[in-house]
Amino acid sequence: MTKTRRNQEPVIEFRGKALRWEWREGVIELTLDHEPLNEIGTLMLADLETFVAAFDGLAPITSSCIITSARPGGFSVGGDLKELYKDALPLAPKKRAAGIRKFLKRIHAVANAIDAAPFVTFAAVHGLCMGGGLELALLCDLIVADKMARFGFPELRLGFIPGFGGIPRLRRDVGNSFIRDLLFTGRTVKAESAHQAGLVSHLTGEGYALQVARSMAQQVTKFEAESRVAAKKFLKPIPFAELRKEIDLFTKLFSRPEVMERLRRFIETGDPMKHLPVDESKKQP
Protein backbone atom coordinates (compact mmCIF):
# COMPACT_ATOMS: atom_id res chain seq x y z
CA MET A 1 0.00 0.00 0.00
CA THR A 2 1.26 3.47 -0.87
CA LYS A 3 2.22 5.43 2.24
CA THR A 4 1.70 9.14 2.77
CA ARG A 5 5.25 10.20 3.61
CA ARG A 6 4.44 13.38 5.45
CA ASN A 7 0.85 12.65 6.40
CA GLN A 8 -0.01 15.34 3.90
CA GLU A 9 -3.69 16.27 3.46
CA PRO A 10 -4.78 15.68 -0.14
CA VAL A 11 -5.22 18.85 -2.20
CA ILE A 12 -8.34 17.82 -4.08
CA GLU A 13 -8.84 21.12 -5.83
CA PHE A 14 -6.34 23.68 -7.06
CA ARG A 15 -6.62 26.70 -9.31
CA GLY A 16 -3.28 28.17 -10.43
CA LYS A 17 -2.29 30.76 -12.98
CA ALA A 18 -1.63 28.30 -15.79
CA LEU A 19 -3.54 25.16 -14.80
CA ARG A 20 -6.11 23.74 -12.40
CA TRP A 21 -6.92 20.31 -11.07
CA GLU A 22 -9.84 18.59 -9.47
CA TRP A 23 -9.96 15.19 -7.76
CA ARG A 24 -13.10 13.09 -8.00
CA GLU A 25 -13.66 9.42 -7.12
CA GLY A 26 -10.03 8.41 -7.45
CA VAL A 27 -9.30 10.39 -10.61
CA ILE A 28 -7.43 13.70 -10.89
CA GLU A 29 -8.29 15.85 -13.88
CA LEU A 30 -5.56 18.41 -14.48
CA THR A 31 -6.48 21.06 -17.04
CA LEU A 32 -3.84 23.23 -18.69
CA ASP A 33 -5.29 26.67 -19.31
CA HIS A 34 -2.67 29.27 -20.13
CA GLU A 35 -3.07 31.66 -23.06
CA PRO A 36 -2.36 31.49 -25.91
CA LEU A 37 -1.62 27.75 -26.16
CA ASN A 38 -0.26 26.46 -22.86
CA GLU A 39 3.31 27.62 -23.38
CA ILE A 40 5.56 26.15 -20.69
CA GLY A 41 7.41 28.98 -18.97
CA THR A 42 7.94 29.98 -15.35
CA LEU A 43 4.18 30.28 -14.61
CA MET A 44 3.31 26.83 -15.93
CA LEU A 45 6.40 25.35 -14.31
CA ALA A 46 5.51 26.82 -10.89
CA ASP A 47 1.99 25.35 -11.13
CA LEU A 48 3.37 21.97 -12.21
CA GLU A 49 5.73 22.08 -9.21
CA THR A 50 2.71 22.69 -6.96
CA PHE A 51 1.01 19.68 -8.56
CA VAL A 52 4.01 17.42 -7.99
CA ALA A 53 4.31 18.63 -4.39
CA ALA A 54 0.72 17.45 -3.84
CA PHE A 55 1.46 13.84 -4.93
CA ASP A 56 2.14 12.55 -1.41
CA GLY A 57 -1.27 13.64 -0.23
CA LEU A 58 -3.11 12.54 -3.36
CA ALA A 59 -1.41 9.17 -3.96
CA PRO A 60 -3.31 7.11 -1.33
CA ILE A 61 -6.69 8.15 -2.76
CA THR A 62 -5.84 8.35 -6.47
CA SER A 63 -5.82 5.65 -9.15
CA SER A 64 -5.43 7.77 -12.25
CA CYS A 65 -4.83 11.27 -13.55
CA ILE A 66 -5.82 12.87 -16.84
CA ILE A 67 -3.88 15.83 -18.19
CA THR A 68 -5.95 17.80 -20.66
CA SER A 69 -6.20 21.31 -22.09
CA ALA A 70 -8.91 23.96 -22.01
CA ARG A 71 -7.34 25.88 -24.90
CA PRO A 72 -9.30 25.39 -28.15
CA GLY A 73 -6.13 25.27 -30.30
CA GLY A 74 -4.73 22.20 -28.66
CA PHE A 75 -2.81 20.57 -25.83
CA SER A 76 0.34 22.72 -25.76
CA VAL A 77 2.84 24.19 -28.20
CA GLY A 78 5.67 23.73 -25.74
CA GLY A 79 8.31 25.88 -24.13
CA ASP A 80 7.66 29.60 -23.77
CA LEU A 81 10.34 30.67 -26.23
CA LYS A 82 9.47 34.35 -25.87
CA GLU A 83 10.22 34.18 -22.16
CA LEU A 84 13.35 32.06 -22.61
CA TYR A 85 14.66 34.49 -25.24
CA LYS A 86 13.82 37.57 -23.18
CA ASP A 87 15.54 36.13 -20.09
CA ALA A 88 18.59 34.80 -21.94
CA LEU A 89 19.28 37.76 -24.24
CA PRO A 90 20.78 40.27 -21.75
CA LEU A 91 23.10 37.65 -20.22
CA ALA A 92 26.73 36.97 -21.16
CA PRO A 93 27.16 33.50 -22.78
CA LYS A 94 28.41 31.78 -19.60
CA LYS A 95 25.61 33.20 -17.46
CA ARG A 96 23.12 32.39 -20.23
CA ALA A 97 24.18 28.73 -20.18
CA ALA A 98 23.97 28.63 -16.38
CA GLY A 99 20.48 30.18 -16.43
CA ILE A 100 19.22 27.72 -19.04
CA ARG A 101 20.70 24.77 -17.15
CA LYS A 102 19.01 25.91 -13.93
CA PHE A 103 15.62 26.21 -15.68
CA LEU A 104 16.03 22.80 -17.34
CA LYS A 105 16.89 21.14 -14.03
CA ARG A 106 13.67 22.48 -12.53
CA ILE A 107 11.68 21.23 -15.52
CA HIS A 108 13.37 17.82 -15.41
CA ALA A 109 12.67 17.43 -11.69
CA VAL A 110 8.96 18.02 -12.31
CA ALA A 111 8.96 15.84 -15.44
CA ASN A 112 10.62 12.92 -13.66
CA ALA A 113 8.09 13.16 -10.82
CA ILE A 114 5.11 13.14 -13.21
CA ASP A 115 6.72 10.32 -15.20
CA ALA A 116 6.96 8.22 -12.02
CA ALA A 117 3.63 9.38 -10.52
CA PRO A 118 2.14 6.69 -8.24
CA PHE A 119 -1.03 6.54 -10.31
CA VAL A 120 -1.77 5.89 -13.99
CA THR A 121 -1.50 9.04 -16.09
CA PHE A 122 -3.28 9.89 -19.33
CA ALA A 123 -2.72 12.77 -21.75
CA ALA A 124 -6.02 13.61 -23.48
CA VAL A 125 -4.78 15.45 -26.55
CA HIS A 126 -6.61 17.57 -29.11
CA GLY A 127 -5.21 20.04 -31.64
CA LEU A 128 -1.53 20.93 -31.50
CA CYS A 129 0.87 19.00 -29.29
CA MET A 130 4.35 20.18 -30.14
CA GLY A 131 7.81 20.56 -28.63
CA GLY A 132 7.56 20.81 -24.85
CA GLY A 133 3.83 20.06 -25.15
CA LEU A 134 4.64 16.69 -26.67
CA GLU A 135 7.28 16.21 -23.96
CA LEU A 136 4.59 16.80 -21.34
CA ALA A 137 2.30 14.27 -23.04
CA LEU A 138 5.19 11.78 -23.18
CA LEU A 139 5.43 11.85 -19.39
CA CYS A 140 2.02 10.23 -19.25
CA ASP A 141 1.57 6.46 -19.31
CA LEU A 142 -0.94 6.63 -22.16
CA ILE A 143 -1.77 9.23 -24.81
CA VAL A 144 -5.37 9.42 -25.99
CA ALA A 145 -5.66 11.61 -29.06
CA ASP A 146 -8.46 13.27 -30.99
CA LYS A 147 -8.11 12.31 -34.67
CA MET A 148 -7.46 16.00 -35.50
CA ALA A 149 -4.51 16.23 -33.07
CA ARG A 150 -1.05 16.94 -34.43
CA PHE A 151 2.34 16.04 -32.96
CA GLY A 152 5.85 17.27 -33.64
CA PHE A 153 9.28 18.34 -32.47
CA PRO A 154 10.19 21.46 -34.49
CA GLU A 155 13.21 22.36 -32.28
CA LEU A 156 15.93 21.52 -34.83
CA ARG A 157 14.52 24.22 -37.10
CA LEU A 158 15.54 26.72 -34.46
CA GLY A 159 18.95 25.16 -33.86
CA PHE A 160 18.48 23.10 -30.71
CA ILE A 161 16.97 19.81 -29.54
CA PRO A 162 13.91 19.11 -27.38
CA GLY A 163 15.03 19.96 -23.84
CA PHE A 164 12.32 18.67 -21.52
CA GLY A 165 13.18 14.97 -21.92
CA GLY A 166 11.70 14.50 -25.40
CA ILE A 167 14.23 12.29 -27.15
CA PRO A 168 14.96 9.84 -24.29
CA ARG A 169 11.25 9.41 -23.56
CA LEU A 170 10.31 9.06 -27.23
CA ARG A 171 13.05 6.42 -27.57
CA ARG A 172 11.51 4.57 -24.67
CA ASP A 173 8.16 4.37 -26.45
CA VAL A 174 8.59 4.26 -30.25
CA GLY A 175 10.97 3.19 -33.01
CA ASN A 176 13.98 5.15 -34.21
CA SER A 177 12.66 5.63 -37.77
CA PHE A 178 9.71 7.61 -36.44
CA ILE A 179 11.88 9.61 -34.00
CA ARG A 180 14.43 10.54 -36.66
CA ASP A 181 11.67 11.52 -39.08
CA LEU A 182 10.13 13.86 -36.50
CA LEU A 183 13.47 15.30 -35.38
CA PHE A 184 15.40 15.63 -38.62
CA THR A 185 12.53 16.92 -40.79
CA GLY A 186 10.94 18.97 -38.01
CA ARG A 187 7.57 18.04 -39.45
CA THR A 188 4.37 17.56 -37.54
CA VAL A 189 2.33 14.39 -37.95
CA LYS A 190 -1.39 13.74 -37.75
CA ALA A 191 -2.79 11.68 -34.91
CA GLU A 192 -3.39 8.63 -37.09
CA SER A 193 0.33 8.46 -37.99
CA ALA A 194 1.29 8.93 -34.34
CA HIS A 195 -1.10 6.09 -33.49
CA GLN A 196 0.44 3.81 -36.13
CA ALA A 197 3.91 4.64 -34.77
CA GLY A 198 2.84 3.62 -31.25
CA LEU A 199 3.01 7.10 -29.72
CA VAL A 200 -0.77 7.33 -29.32
CA SER A 201 -2.57 4.50 -27.52
CA HIS A 202 -6.14 5.41 -28.42
CA LEU A 203 -7.37 7.43 -31.38
CA THR A 204 -10.78 9.04 -30.86
CA GLY A 205 -13.38 10.88 -32.88
CA GLU A 206 -13.13 14.65 -33.10
CA GLY A 207 -13.83 16.21 -29.69
CA TYR A 208 -13.86 12.90 -27.79
CA ALA A 209 -10.31 12.52 -26.42
CA LEU A 210 -11.22 13.63 -22.90
CA GLN A 211 -14.35 11.46 -22.79
CA VAL A 212 -12.39 8.37 -23.84
CA ALA A 213 -9.60 9.18 -21.36
CA ARG A 214 -12.20 9.50 -18.57
CA SER A 215 -13.59 6.08 -19.41
CA MET A 216 -10.08 4.57 -19.32
CA ALA A 217 -9.25 6.37 -16.08
CA GLN A 218 -12.39 4.90 -14.47
CA GLN A 219 -11.37 1.42 -15.58
CA VAL A 220 -8.02 1.87 -13.81
CA THR A 221 -9.78 2.62 -10.51
CA LYS A 222 -11.01 -1.03 -10.43
CA PHE A 223 -7.51 -2.43 -9.82
CA GLU A 224 -5.62 -2.46 -6.54
CA ALA A 225 -2.86 0.07 -5.97
CA GLU A 226 0.09 -2.16 -5.09
CA SER A 227 0.14 -4.16 -8.34
CA ARG A 228 -0.60 -1.05 -10.39
CA VAL A 229 2.35 0.87 -8.90
CA ALA A 230 4.66 -2.15 -9.21
CA ALA A 231 3.66 -2.71 -12.84
CA LYS A 232 4.29 0.92 -13.67
CA LYS A 233 7.78 0.89 -12.12
CA PHE A 234 8.57 -2.31 -14.04
CA LEU A 235 7.17 -1.07 -17.38
CA LYS A 236 8.37 2.49 -17.39
CA PRO A 237 11.93 3.01 -16.17
CA ILE A 238 13.11 6.62 -16.29
CA PRO A 239 16.14 7.07 -18.60
CA PHE A 240 18.12 9.23 -16.12
CA ALA A 241 21.53 8.98 -17.85
CA GLU A 242 20.13 10.06 -21.22
CA LEU A 243 18.13 12.85 -19.59
CA ARG A 244 21.30 14.26 -18.02
CA LYS A 245 23.04 14.14 -21.41
CA GLU A 246 20.07 15.95 -22.93
CA ILE A 247 20.44 18.83 -20.44
CA ASP A 248 24.14 19.18 -21.39
CA LEU A 249 23.45 19.10 -25.12
CA PHE A 250 20.48 21.44 -24.98
CA THR A 251 22.43 23.95 -22.87
CA LYS A 252 25.37 23.86 -25.30
CA LEU A 253 23.21 24.28 -28.41
CA PHE A 254 20.79 26.81 -26.97
CA SER A 255 23.52 29.11 -25.64
CA ARG A 256 24.98 29.77 -29.10
CA PRO A 257 24.56 33.29 -30.55
CA GLU A 258 23.04 31.91 -33.79
CA VAL A 259 20.19 30.40 -31.76
CA MET A 260 19.52 33.77 -30.15
CA GLU A 261 19.31 35.26 -33.64
CA ARG A 262 16.92 32.55 -34.87
CA LEU A 263 14.78 33.04 -31.79
CA ARG A 264 14.72 36.79 -32.38
CA ARG A 265 13.41 36.23 -35.92
CA PHE A 266 10.98 33.57 -34.72
CA ILE A 267 9.53 35.92 -32.12
CA GLU A 268 9.66 39.21 -33.96
CA THR A 269 8.83 38.26 -37.55
CA GLY A 270 5.36 38.65 -38.99
CA ASP A 271 6.01 35.75 -41.37
CA PRO A 272 2.95 33.48 -41.38
CA MET A 273 5.18 30.38 -41.26
CA LYS A 274 7.21 31.78 -38.43
CA HIS A 275 7.27 28.51 -36.54
CA LEU A 276 9.07 26.93 -39.49
CA PRO A 277 11.93 29.32 -40.25
CA VAL A 278 13.51 28.91 -43.68
CA ASP A 279 16.95 27.33 -43.59
CA GLU A 280 19.41 30.14 -44.34
CA SER A 281 21.54 27.87 -46.53
CA LYS A 282 18.60 27.39 -48.91
CA LYS A 283 17.90 31.09 -49.34
CA GLN A 284 18.51 32.59 -52.76
CA PRO A 285 21.32 35.19 -52.82
Partner: protein, 80 residues
Amino acid sequence: MGTIEQTTREILDLAAKQFKVTDGSLKAEDDFYKKLRIDSLQALELLSRLENHFNIELPDYEVQGVSDFKTLAERIQARL
Protein backbone atom coordinates in the same frame (compact mmCIF):
# COMPACT_ATOMS: atom_id res chain seq x y z
CA MET B 1 -8.57 10.13 -57.75
CA GLY B 2 -10.54 13.30 -58.43
CA THR B 3 -9.49 16.12 -60.72
CA ILE B 4 -7.49 19.10 -59.46
CA GLU B 5 -10.69 21.18 -59.78
CA GLN B 6 -12.57 18.77 -57.51
CA THR B 7 -9.70 18.77 -55.01
CA THR B 8 -9.62 22.58 -54.99
CA ARG B 9 -13.39 22.78 -54.47
CA GLU B 10 -13.22 20.35 -51.54
CA ILE B 11 -10.37 22.33 -49.95
CA LEU B 12 -12.32 25.59 -50.29
CA ASP B 13 -15.42 23.98 -48.75
CA LEU B 14 -13.48 22.48 -45.83
CA ALA B 15 -11.61 25.73 -45.13
CA ALA B 16 -14.85 27.75 -45.25
CA LYS B 17 -16.52 25.33 -42.85
CA GLN B 18 -13.59 25.14 -40.41
CA PHE B 19 -13.01 28.88 -40.20
CA LYS B 20 -16.69 29.85 -40.53
CA VAL B 21 -16.45 31.79 -43.75
CA THR B 22 -19.51 32.21 -46.02
CA ASP B 23 -19.85 29.37 -48.56
CA GLY B 24 -18.62 30.40 -52.00
CA SER B 25 -16.64 33.39 -50.77
CA LEU B 26 -13.25 31.66 -51.11
CA LYS B 27 -11.43 31.49 -54.45
CA ALA B 28 -8.56 29.22 -55.54
CA GLU B 29 -6.18 32.17 -55.92
CA ASP B 30 -6.91 33.58 -52.45
CA ASP B 31 -4.14 33.91 -49.87
CA PHE B 32 -5.61 31.72 -47.14
CA TYR B 33 -3.67 33.42 -44.35
CA LYS B 34 -5.22 36.76 -45.25
CA LYS B 35 -8.66 35.56 -46.37
CA LEU B 36 -9.22 33.28 -43.36
CA ARG B 37 -7.31 35.59 -41.01
CA ILE B 38 -5.31 32.67 -39.63
CA ASP B 39 -1.76 32.29 -38.33
CA SER B 40 0.72 29.51 -38.99
CA LEU B 41 -0.54 27.38 -36.11
CA GLN B 42 -4.14 27.58 -37.34
CA ALA B 43 -2.81 26.63 -40.79
CA LEU B 44 -1.59 23.39 -39.17
CA GLU B 45 -5.15 22.77 -37.94
CA LEU B 46 -6.33 23.15 -41.55
CA LEU B 47 -3.59 20.75 -42.66
CA SER B 48 -4.84 18.13 -40.17
CA ARG B 49 -8.36 18.48 -41.52
CA LEU B 50 -7.19 18.16 -45.12
CA GLU B 51 -4.99 15.13 -44.37
CA ASN B 52 -7.90 13.40 -42.66
CA HIS B 53 -10.40 14.31 -45.38
CA PHE B 54 -8.19 13.18 -48.27
CA ASN B 55 -6.69 10.32 -46.27
CA ILE B 56 -3.15 11.40 -47.09
CA GLU B 57 0.00 12.40 -45.24
CA LEU B 58 1.32 15.80 -46.33
CA PRO B 59 4.48 16.86 -44.47
CA ASP B 60 4.24 20.52 -43.49
CA TYR B 61 7.62 21.30 -45.07
CA GLU B 62 5.99 20.54 -48.43
CA VAL B 63 3.56 23.39 -47.91
CA GLN B 64 6.09 25.77 -46.37
CA GLY B 65 5.82 29.04 -48.24
CA VAL B 66 2.47 28.05 -49.80
CA SER B 67 -0.22 30.58 -49.08
CA ASP B 68 -2.85 30.16 -51.83
CA PHE B 69 -5.47 27.42 -52.16
CA LYS B 70 -4.50 26.63 -55.76
CA THR B 71 -0.92 25.64 -54.90
CA LEU B 72 -2.13 23.84 -51.80
CA ALA B 73 -4.51 21.81 -54.00
CA GLU B 74 -1.61 20.91 -56.32
CA ARG B 75 0.46 19.65 -53.39
CA ILE B 76 -2.46 17.57 -52.14
CA GLN B 77 -3.24 16.23 -55.61
CA ALA B 78 0.35 14.97 -55.82
CA ARG B 79 -0.29 12.83 -52.73
CA LEU B 80 -3.65 11.33 -53.81
